[in-house]
């Protein structure tokens, strides 16, 4: 345990208030006795952290699962303390801007401002929470606590760890986005049945920003590096992606360029859904987000592999 960790990021960064069951975590894949006959052919030249046959005695069948469960267990232990702070921030932003600014603005794009803001708020809080987890928290586990190193001493590969971290950061993002969704419903900001269709949008946003975040994690030398990512990448992206105001308010050259950003793609799908309208051809944005997510994860794997080869 490292006392000079500036930020107890593993204590749950942007935890949203998703309710966790109090039951025991699901049991991992059954133990494989090491007397199992060998069924895999040794393939010389396989890189040490590359893909391995799934049936290796003494190795879990879906090896990323116990790593994911490890992160879930930490979150469950610390959730109560962190949920308040982490659900509070996006919630305050939504309510303060939505009701405060909403009083001044009659309507934006033909809807009350808080309803307009709600869609952006869901996407933004998902993106922020996933990024926070993939940067600060993953970095704690990779570099500061050396958790990844001890996992790799077991019959695990770097791919197992990365897949688990990717899915976990996306999960944390989803917790946050879903919490905002619940607030939207409870406060009657919107009760459109289409709200349910936001769930796949939230999942894609989580995976996308988790993947991109892990790229920067692989390059980081310390926590300071992430400040640049948040202030120079994420914050500007939020302001040009149509979270707070329509992108059309921006100069043309910015708005056309910004429409390709992952957060803008997500907001374009989410907004009609909150307003109870089908998003029409914006559905294909989910496909583009999927491509961003996979490219991000592929690059993150490459960069992390390079980091661990030293």
């Amino acid at each position: 345990m490292d006392s000079n960790r500036p930020n107890r990021a593993d204590r749950g960064g942007n935890d949203a208030g998703a309710v966790e069951s109090a039951g025991a975590p699901p049991a991992p894949a059954a133990s494989a006795p090491r007397t199992l006959p060998s069924r895999t052919v040794p393939s010389p030249g396989t890189p040490p952290s590359g893909s391995v046959p799934s049936v290796v005695p003494g190795r879990p069948r879906f090896a990323f699962v116990p790593v994911y469960l490890r992160n879930l267990l930490v979150w469950r232990k610390l959730a109560v303390a962190s949920v308040l702070g982490n659900i509070a921030e996006p919630l305050i932003t939504l309510l303060a801007f939505g009701y405060g600014l909403g009083r001044l603005l009659e309507q934006v794009d033909g809807t009350p401002y808080i309803t307009y803001l709600a869609a952006g708020s869901v996407c933004m809080s998902t993106a922020m929470a996933a990024s926070f987890e993939a940067l600060y928290s993953a970095f704690s586990r990779m570099h500061v606590q050396r958790t990844w190193e001890s996992i790799l001493n077991a019959p695990m590969t770097l791919s197992d760890v990365l897949v688990a971290e990717w899915l976990w950061a996306a999960t944390k993002g989803a917790f946050s986005g879903l919490a905002i969704l619940v607030v939207i419903f409870v406060l009657d900001i919107s009760r459109a049945p289409e709200l349910l269709l936001l769930v796949p949008v939230i999942a894609m946003v989580g995976l996308t920003f988790a993947g991109i975040g892990l790229c920067f994690n692989a390059l980081a030398r310390g926590y300071d590096f992430f400040t640049y990512y948040f202030t120079l990448v994420l914050t500007p992206m939020i302001f040009v992606s149509g979270v707070y105001y329509p992108r059309e308010q921006l100069p043309d050259w910015i708005s056309s360029w910004a429409s390709a950003l992952p957060l803008a793609l997500a907001v374009d799908v989410a907004r009609p859904l909150v307003l109870g309208r089908p998003p029409g051809e914006a559905w294909w944005h989910l496909v583009v987000l999927g491509v961003y997510a996979c490219l991000g994860f592929a690059l993150a794997s490459r960069l992390t592999r390079r980091r661990f080869a030293r």
Partner: protein
């Protein structure tokens, strides 16, 4: 120097089943060659020490052996598996105690073991059966619900050892197992490791703490600049490589005395380091007599240790 070799000190012929075989291992990072043609062999039931100064390539060797790095050249067989091709298969039967304990600070003692056991695909039932015995072995039964930050350094290290045993490994790798521990904690760790060897486990440890190597290891290899310098049983190495007695001479009159006396009259080898003269002798009595009436010199006589061998082979230069 030739000493009559006590047959009991000669390295045992390697007939036992090898659990680790390394040949011609080479690994460079950029222009820096960390491991340079290293080869050694560990048999089942041995406690094997990998010794060397900082930067000698010990930790890189350990990572290569575990398949966490790809070698540039050479062959590794761990428990019969080719490494790194079948590293996962081998690591399922191996325990590792890393230098930084890397315990999960957010978990209790027991949770650390449960979570780690899952990485080996162990079921809850197997873990519930194993963990009490592991805690007992590590002397942590009373601490099973304690948080990691409530543990002392020695307790953390014992927990890391227990964690490395969760999969009931055949071979245990320890990277500097007692660095930073006080003598009480260190002796307890040594005792636990001896008990593992007596239960038939094979141990491979790296250390630059010679007393540890001398006490624990049945055989050891000295590595420097990524190359094997020496290999053998600790007692055999001391007997073979160095004179049995050492005189350490200090005091204000040392420089003056050295100007008029050649220590080689009484000893076979000597070093003058800073304010101290180290004289290595087969029979120290003549030199002791020569120094006895000089009040300005302080003389300490001791038996040669592995540390003397180590310093002879790797030099006294600082490795930072």
């Amino acid at each position: 120097m030739s000493l009559p070799e006590d047959p009991s000190l000669v390295d045992a012929p390697i007939t036992a089943e090898p659990v680790l075989e390394v040949t011609g291992l080479r690994k460079a990072f950029g222009t820096m060659t960390a491991v340079d043609g290293l080869g050694f062999r560990v048999s089942r039931g041995e406690c094997f020490g990998l010794l060397g100064p900082n930067g000698a390539g010990k930790s890189t060797t350990l990572k290569l052996v575990l398949g966490l790095l790809s070698p540039d050249a050479g062959e590794i067989r761990l428990l019969g598996e080719p490494i790194p091709a079948q590293a996962q298969r081998a690591r399922a039967r191996v325990g590792v105690v890393p230098q930084a304990d890397a315990l999960d600070p957010d978990f209790t003692v027991t949770e650390n073991l449960v979570v780690y056991g899952r990485y080996f695909g162990l079921s809850r039932a197997v873990l519930e059966e194993r963990i009490p015995a592991l805690l007992e072995f590590a002397g942590l039964a009373a601490k099973r619900t304690a948080r990691i930050d409530e543990l002392s350094g020695g307790m953390k290290r014992r927990l890391t050892i227990a964690r490395a045993l969760v999969n009931d490994p055949e071979i245990l790798f320890l990277d500097e197992p007692t660095t930073g521990l006080d003598p009480q904690a260190r002796h307890l760790i040594w005792d636990r490791l001896r008990s593992l060897v007596s239960r038939g486990k094979t141990i491979v440890l790296t250390t630059h703490f010679m007393e540890e190597a001398e006490r624990l290891c049945t055989r050891l290899a000295v590595v420097d600049h990524g190359r094997l310098v020496l290999e053998g049983a600790p007692e055999a190495l001391i007997a073979r490589e160095i004179e049995p007695h050492v005189l350490e001479v200090t005091g204000d009159g040392l420089r003056d005395w050295l100007r008029h006396n050649d220590p080689l009259r009484w000893c076979t080898r000597h070093e003058h380091v800073g304010e101290t003269l180290f004289a290595y002798c087969t029979d120290p009595s003549a030199m002791l007599a020569a120094l006895s009436d000089l009040k300005s010199l302080r003389v300490v006589q001791r038996r040669a240790t592995l540390e003397d061998v180590f310093l002879k082979l790797t030099g006294r230069d600082l490795r930072d």
